[in-house]
Every structure is written in structure tokens, then in C-alpha cells.
């Protein structure tokens, strides 16, 4: 077992990374950014496949993955925190979607 957990950053605009393995609280999570290794410390236990914030995401602003908004933060999310349904909500399915791009 390696000491560091691993995660995937999909786009330089993203403020979350996706864990390829479980990260326990206090573990450093390594991911590739700009060709080098970057680290984010997990502030709580987070399951594999789930997202961890690598920057602060202020309430009402977009969580970004794949270089695109995946939902709006419903609370301030600090770096290292689990980003999921308890603090991010979809902006779609309300009939008010945007189709202008």
C-alpha cells in the first residue's frame, strides 16, 4: 500500500479532483497538474471515485470538473473537503437550462 492516495485532475479549470482510491482523513492526495505532482490533504475520509476540493469553492459558485460546471456549491467548501450531494446541487432539470453556447 502506498502512503499517498491518488486522484485525477481532468482540466486546469477544475476545482475538484477525483480519487482513484479511498483517502482517509489526514492523507496527502497526489495528482498531476501542469506536468508535475501536486498534493492536497484530505480533511475527512472520502471514498474512491468521489471528489475532493483542491481550492475553496464559495457558496453559490460552480464546482468545476471536465473544465465545465457540474453544479453550484450550497455551502462554502474548503480545500481538502469531500465535494458531493451534501454541498453541491445540480443547476439543471428545472426547465431553466442554458443552451446558448
Amino acid at each position: 500500500m502506498e502512503m499517498k492516495a491518488r486522484a485525477i485532475l481532468l482540466d486546469k479549470e477544475d476545482n475538484v479532483v477525483t480519487l482513484t482510491v479511498v483517502a482517509n482523513k489526514g492523507t496527502d492526495v497526489a495528482y498531476i497538474s501542469d506536468g508535475g505532482e501536486a498534493l492536497i490533504r484530505a480533511e475527512e475520509d472520502i471514498p474512491a471515485g468521489h471528489k475532493i476540493a483542491i481550492r475553496k469553492i464559495a457558496k453559490g459558485t460552480a464546482a468545476m470538473k471536465y473544465g465545465a460546471p457540474i453544479g453550484a456549491a450550497t455551502a462554502d467548501i474548503e480545500p481538502g473537503r469531500h465535494v458531493h450531494t451534501h454541498n453541491v446541487a445540480s443547476m439543471r432539470g428545472t426547465g431553466a437550462g442554458h443552451h446558448d453556447r
Binding site: 482513484t20 471514498p47 474512491a48 471536465y66 460546471p69 457540474i70 453544479g71 458531493h84 445540480s90 426547465g95
Partner: protein, 392 residues
């Protein structure tokens, strides 16, 4: 892999070769399901479906049922077909027959109320089914160019790895097959919400771009009709356990399975593509409804990515499963054909898995059985009109 790849298929009167040679047997109405089940027990080689449809006061749904039943009979994978009618249903058997026989293949009808009762209808139908199976057995495979293949792209029971491993690998495989001249059909419009800008940019021209955006906007409008008080259930509990948070995140991963070639056409539910290349079909995200639409649209097989693992299949088309992670693959080895999990642990890259997919598709086209066929999965379900609350 050369540009002149071929597969061994079955010649059909309408020029669309099949990759299977099924005798398809189905009821035109729910009331005769038991007769079809009895035929399936007597002659295990027949490809049967049973269903809850065939009689409705909704004229639009009635038309769609009529068209989809006939389209299963005209599928290139079907050698010949037999329908068992009751005789009073709203889906008129004579119209199903007329549409199905336009393909030039043998399609038969047994009507319970004309025969007397279900026992007499069964005796007649089982004799016809046996005769069709005997005829099908005599037909041999011939060589066809890969450009004759029409392959569906689907994902179900997705997790957060689906968009990182299996879907990008399938997208690259889709590009490779399009470049070989094949047609790839992607569906599940609910899973474009949040990713429509990518699909729009991939449209071949302004007409297709408009149609892509209109189709997604209409679907989102229908979902909104469910009402905000129900909180628009945009993803499943399994998706969430697998790390997916919103429909936007799910969509951005889902559409990667379509690859990067231009969308050349948007077709309606169960409609046949008229162009070669990447085609979008208007279906809901629910797996069975989407697969039924794809198969009615004449696809030969589907490559279906899954994160948490799903066994589903079809009576007449191989549904090839590709897992997003090796944990699911190892747990569901009997249900899953290929694994993209090696991309996560670095033992494979996306290109390796894409090549595995193309190779497997060509093998399946020439007769190799997919896991869902071996396991006898024959799910069948029509889309529900209006809001579909269930998205896989």
C-alpha cells in the same frame, strides 16, 4: 487493424446484413404472453420477448408500439418472425405485419381469437416457429465490410470512473469504427444536460447543431414537468454511491463514449439512421427503454459501459459490457465482457482498451456470444411518454 476489416454475417433481402440469425417470436399484446412463453420453453432457439404493451387508448403510444414491434421483426439480426395476437387489441396485427413484411423476410401471425383458444393458437404457432428455426438453420454466414455495421453506444449504472476510463475508451473505439465506415448510434438524451455545448460543437452542420440542442432542451423541459416539489431526481442512488453528484457531472462523463467524430444526424426514438458516422437517437436515459429504441432503429449490437455493473441484454442484439473499474469486473465476471479498469491502475491506456473493444465488436459480429446472450437476458421496454423520472 486494416481499413478493410470484415465480419461474417447473414445476408438479408433488404440489403442490411445481420450478425445473428434469430427467429423472433413476440405477442402483439400483453394478453398472449403465456403463449409466447410456452413456445420459448418448447423451442429454446427462438428469440422471444414478452411485454405489458399492445393495447392503449393513447394514439401516439399505440403508433410507437406498432412501429417498434414491426422494427424488431425487420432488425437485420432477425431471420424471420412470428407474432401472436389476441385479435381485439389497439395495436392492429395487420399493420404490424404489413410494416414487418416490407423487409422482404418471412413474418407470420397467429391470432388467438381466430384459432379458437390459446391451446389451438399455441399448437399452430409452435409448428410455425419450428419451421422457421429449421429454415434459419440452413442459412450460412457470408463476409461483409465493417461499413455495414451499426453499433449502439450506451452507459448504465454509471459511477465516477465511467467518465474517466470506460467512456473515453469507448469514445476512441467509436472514432476508430466510424473511420472504418461503420455507423455508431448514441442515445440517452437526459444525459446530455450540462454537456450540450460539447455535443453542439461536434455537429456536422448548423441544421444538426440546432436539432441536437432542440432535442436536449425538449427533454429537459419534459423532466421539469415532474415538478420542483419532487426535487427532480436527476441521478440514481447507485450513481451517487459511485461518486457522481449531479446530472451535469454524469453527462460530461457519459458523452465521452460518443468520441470526437461529427454528429451527422439526429433520429427519433426507434428510427433508422440514414447516414454513416456518429448518429444521435432521441431516447430517455433509462437503459431498457434506450436499448429498445436503439434495437428498433436497426443497430446490430451495443457497447454498454457500466460502473457499478449491470447484466442487461436483448433477445435479438448482443449487448457488450465494458466495466469502468476492475472491482466491478471481478465481482460480475459472468455479466461483463471487457474491463477498462486497467486505465486506473496504469496497466493499460485508453488506446489499449479502445483496441480491445473494436476487436471484441468484430468477433461478436462474426458470432462470438456476449455475456448477456450467454446469460439469457432479454429485457424489453418502450419509452414512457412525457416525463421519465428514472434515469440510469
Amino acid at each position: 487493424m486494416t481499413d478493410r476489416a470484415t465480419f461474417l454475417g447473414y445476408r438479408r433481402p433488404d440489403g442490411r446484413p445481420g450478425i445473428r440469425n434469430h427467429v423472433f417470436v413476440a405477442p402483439t399484446v400483453v394478453c398472449t404472453n403465456a403463449v409466447v412463453d410456452r413456445i420459448a420453453r418448447a423451442i429454446p432457439e427462438v428469440a422471444t420477448v414478452t411485454h405489458p404493451y399492445g393495447c392503449t387508448l393513447d394514439p401516439v403510444a399505440n403508433e410507437e408500439m406498432t412501429r417498434v414491434f414491426a422494427s424488431f421483426a425487420t432488425s437485420p439480426n432477425v431471420h424471420s418472425a412470428l407474432f401472436v395476437a389476441l385479435g381485439c387489441e389497439t395495436v392492429e396485427p395487420s399493420r404490424v405485419m404489413e410494416m414487418a413484411r416490407a423487409s422482404g423476410k418471412r413474418v407470420e401471425l397467429v391470432t388467438v381469437q381466430d384459432e379458437g383458444d390459446t391451446e389451438l393458437a399455441y399448437q399452430k404457432a409452435v409448428a410455425i416457429a419450428a419451421e422457421l428455426v429449421e429454415e434459419a438453420r440452413r442459412q450460412e454466414r457470408e463476409e461483409f465490410d465493417v461499413s455495414k455495421l451499426v453499433i449502439g453506444l450506451e452507459c448504465g449504472s454509471s459511477d465516477a470512473f465511467s467518465g474517466l476510463t470506460a467512456n473515453p475508451a469507448l469514445g476512441l473505439a467509436s472514432d476508430m469504427l466510424v473511420d472504418m465506415g461503420a455507423t455508431m448510434v448514441i442515445s440517452e438524451i437526459t444525459e446530455y444536460m450540462g454537456a450540450e455545448h460539447i455535443a453542439a460543437a461536434q455537429a456536422i452542420d448548423e441544421d444538426v447543431r440546432k436539432k441536437v440542442l432542440e432535442t436536449i432542451a425538449r427533454t429537459e423541459g419534459e423532466l421539469a414537468l415532474i415538478g420542483p416539489e419532487y426535487g427532480f431526481s436527476d441521478i440514481t442512488p447507485g450513481n451517487m454511491l459511485g461518486g457522481l453528484t449531479t446530472i451535469e457531472e454524469k453527462s460530461l462523463g457519459c458523452i465521452r463514449k460518443g468520441g470526437t467524430r461529427p454528429y451527422v444526424e439526429v433520429v427519433g426514438y426507434g428510427e433508422r439512421p440514414t447516414k454513416h458516422g456518429l448518429v444521435m437517437m432521441d431516447t430517455p436515459g433509462q437503459d431498457i427503454e434506450s436499448l429498445t429504441g436503439l434495437i428498433a432503429g436497426g443497430i446490430h449490437a451495443v457497447v454498454f459501459t457500466t460502473g457499478r455493473g449491470t447484466p442487461t441484454g436483448s433477445a435479438i442484439a448482443p449487448i457488450i459490457k465494458l466495466s469502468s473499474n476492475s472491482g466491478t469486473f471481478n465481482r460480475m465476471r459472468r455479466n461483463i465482457d471487457l474491463d477498462a479498469g486497467g486505465i486506473l491502475d496504469g496497466t493499460k491506456d485508453i488506446e489499449d482498451v479502445a483496441r480491445d473493444i473494436v476487436e471484441f465488436v468484430l468477433k461478436v459480429a462474426s458470432g462470438k456470444k456476449a455475456a448477456a446472450e450467454i446469460n439469457g437476458h432479454r429485457e424489453f421496454g418502450l419509452r414512457r411518454r412525457g416525463a421519465t423520472g428514472c434515469i440510469y
